[in-house]
């Protein structure tokens, strides 16, 4: 058998371990010691599945916390069959999980926990910011507030906005604990609220702040290159919402985003 055929058959068999082992592969492989070819293939197939499972536990820790070991494993084993890894970087594996969790086969799971796809989406964004270069933080006192109203803003890759149908951030904060711990501290109803977030990196940490819809929309206007004054004029935000937002900006990163 040519090397190309061997590698193709071996990979296909590892990904689909339940199928019969092709005769030509059986004729080519010398199993080791006391194990036969079926066991050989299951060693490699299991190694693949569990390696991917471990990567997904790391990338989607809060989904794992919510589902528990068994259900998480079941979901992920199905996921890796549907979406074999194409990338060398396991940290980025799982980009299709939000869509996968929504699929028709998962109707029962999603009717019980409709927030799961949003939680997966949140984790993807959070970790993508985590892996970005830490931004330089300058002294905010140097910022010239007089120019604020006519300033336009630019947001670097360590700042992101998110609108989700569910308020999943509190769940995410409990990712290293248990669902019971979460329920002791929070009412499950809060998860069902619509949520607007800004995620930003500061001093090596990714932070998440919940915004009102008006504040979120205000940021979208700024992102659309309107000046601060133009954004204010076009915003529905109340004076209190703007005041909160300005306080938040000046405490965190206004000097990083002003042009």
């Amino acid at each position: 058998m040519k090397e190309k055929d061997y590698q193709n058959i071996f990979v296909a068999q590892t990904l689909n371990a339940s199928s019969d082992i092709p005769a030509e592969l059986g004729e080519l492989i010398n199993p080791i010691g006391k194990i036969d070819i079926t066991k050989v293939m299951s060693v490699y197939a299991d190694d693949y599945k569990y390696r991917m499972l471990e990567a997904m536990k790391s990338n989607f820790e809060s989904i794992w916390m919510v589902l528990g070991d068994e259900e998480f494993k079941n979901q992920i084993f199905e996921y890796i069959t549907a979406y074999p890894s194409k990338n060398f970087d396991l940290n980025s594996y799982g980009e299709n999980l939000p869509a996968f969790l929504k699929k028709a086969d998962n109707r029962e799971l999603i009717s019980e926990m409709p927030f799961l796809p949003d939680l997966a989406q949140f984790e993807i964004l959070f970790w993508s910011i985590f892996h970005k270069k830490n931004p330089e933080i300058e002294d905010v006192q140097d910022f010239d507030k007089n120019n604020l109203l006519q300033s336009r803003f630019s947001f670097d890759e360590t700042i992101a906005f998110m609108h989700l149908g569910h308020h999943v951030f509190p769940l995410f904060q409990f990712r290293e604990k248990t669902l019971d711990d979460f329920l002791i501290n929070h009412s499950p109803e809060i998860i069902m609220e619509e949520a607007y977030y800004i995620l930003y990196k500061k001093y090596f940490k990714v932070n998440c702040q919940r915004l009102t819809k008006n504040q979120y929309d205000f940021f979208q206007l700024l992102k659309g290159r309107m000046t601060f004054q133009e954004s204010l004029d076009n915003s529905q935000a109340t004076p209190q919402e703007i005041q909160e937002l300005f306080k938040f900006l000046s405490l965190n990163f206004i000097n990083r985003i002003i042009l």
Binding site: Y6, V11, G33, V43, F88, F204
Partner: protein
């Protein structure tokens, strides 16, 4: 990183996120160098990268990859991967850039595993071309590690040691000898490890890896989940007495102990090499 005192070998450990708190707290470090899994740092400039940069100020770093797939059937290594590897090399300036003599899957399905292939003349010629192309692209020699394999291929005409020797002769690449892999294979495939040791050309060996295996009864599995076993230490002593200038690294990837315990394991290599 070559030792100037021939009885004081350089010992290192794998850099793992489990120990990041230890490094951030500036606790003492008694080993000589660190090795990073290249893929864990290629796409991050966050906390893991910051810690690597900080350690790089004080310690030599070796880069060890798991995705080169040098024996894969594609005629060239994934150019995107190679480009990112080059960028990381430029920043880290590692002592050694290594990977494994294996394939890891296909372009559309990466199994993230180190998979055996046939040690044939055709594969030797094909892989030698790829190694040369990678070395030209990186502007430095590549170092390739022997595998732990749970089967062999009947159409092989070389042993693994012969294949590695020949590849090194043809391309100038180095060999990373994983003694745990060698021991696991010798038990599983029923050969004497000294057959490999006597065949492998010591002049090509640029680094030694040590780790612990898991005994599943029917076979040994290269799990990196335990301390180095006595049988592996014996082989290590056999090997290191032939050349005490080869740097030695202890890998521990599952049930990872404290950094102090990991260091203790690495420093055992130093003690044994002195005897």
């Amino acid at each position: 990183m070559t030792s100037t005192i021939n009885k004081n070998i350089q010992v290192g450990v794998g850099l793992r996120h489990t120990h990041f708190d230890h490094f951030e707290a500036d606790k003492p470090i008694n080993i000589d160098f660190f090795e990073v899994i290249s893929e864990n740092f290629i796409n991050t400039r966050g906390r893991p990268f910051e810690i690597l940069v900080k350690l790089r100020e004080k310690f030599p770093i070796c880069m060890h990859g798991v995705s080169l797939s040098i024996a894969g059937i594609d005629t060239e290594v994934n150019p995107n991967y190679l480009q990112k590897l080059k960028e990381l090399i430029k920043i880290v300036e590692p002592e050694i850039v290594s990977d494994h003599l294996c394939f890891t899957g296909l372009a559309h399905s990466n199994l993230h595993n180190l998979l055996p292939f046939a040690y044939t003349k055709e594969n030797l010629a094909r892989i030698a071309l790829k190694v040369q192309a990678v070395q030209e692209s990186l502007g430095r020699p590549l170092v390739l590690e022997n595998l732990s394999a749970y089967f062999s291929l009947k159409n092989s005409v070389f042993s693994e040691a012969e294949f590695l020797n020949e590849l090194a002769e043809r391309t100038g690449c180095g060999i990373l000898l994983d003694i745990n892999n060698l021991y696991v294979n010798s038990v599983n495939q029923n050969f004497h490890p000294n057959d490999f040791i006597s065949k492998i050309n010591i002049k090509h060996i640029k680094q030694i890896h040590l780790a612990g295996y898991t005994d599943f009864g029917d076979y040994l599995f290269d799990s990196h989940a335990h301390p180095v076993y006595p049988e592996v230490w014996v082989l290590f002593q056999e090997m290191i007495k032939r050349n005490r200038d080869i740097p030695v690294l202890v890998e521990w990837d599952e049930d990872i102990p404290t950094f102090e315990r990991l260091e203790e394991e690495a420093l055992t290599a130093k003690k044994l090499a002195r005897n």
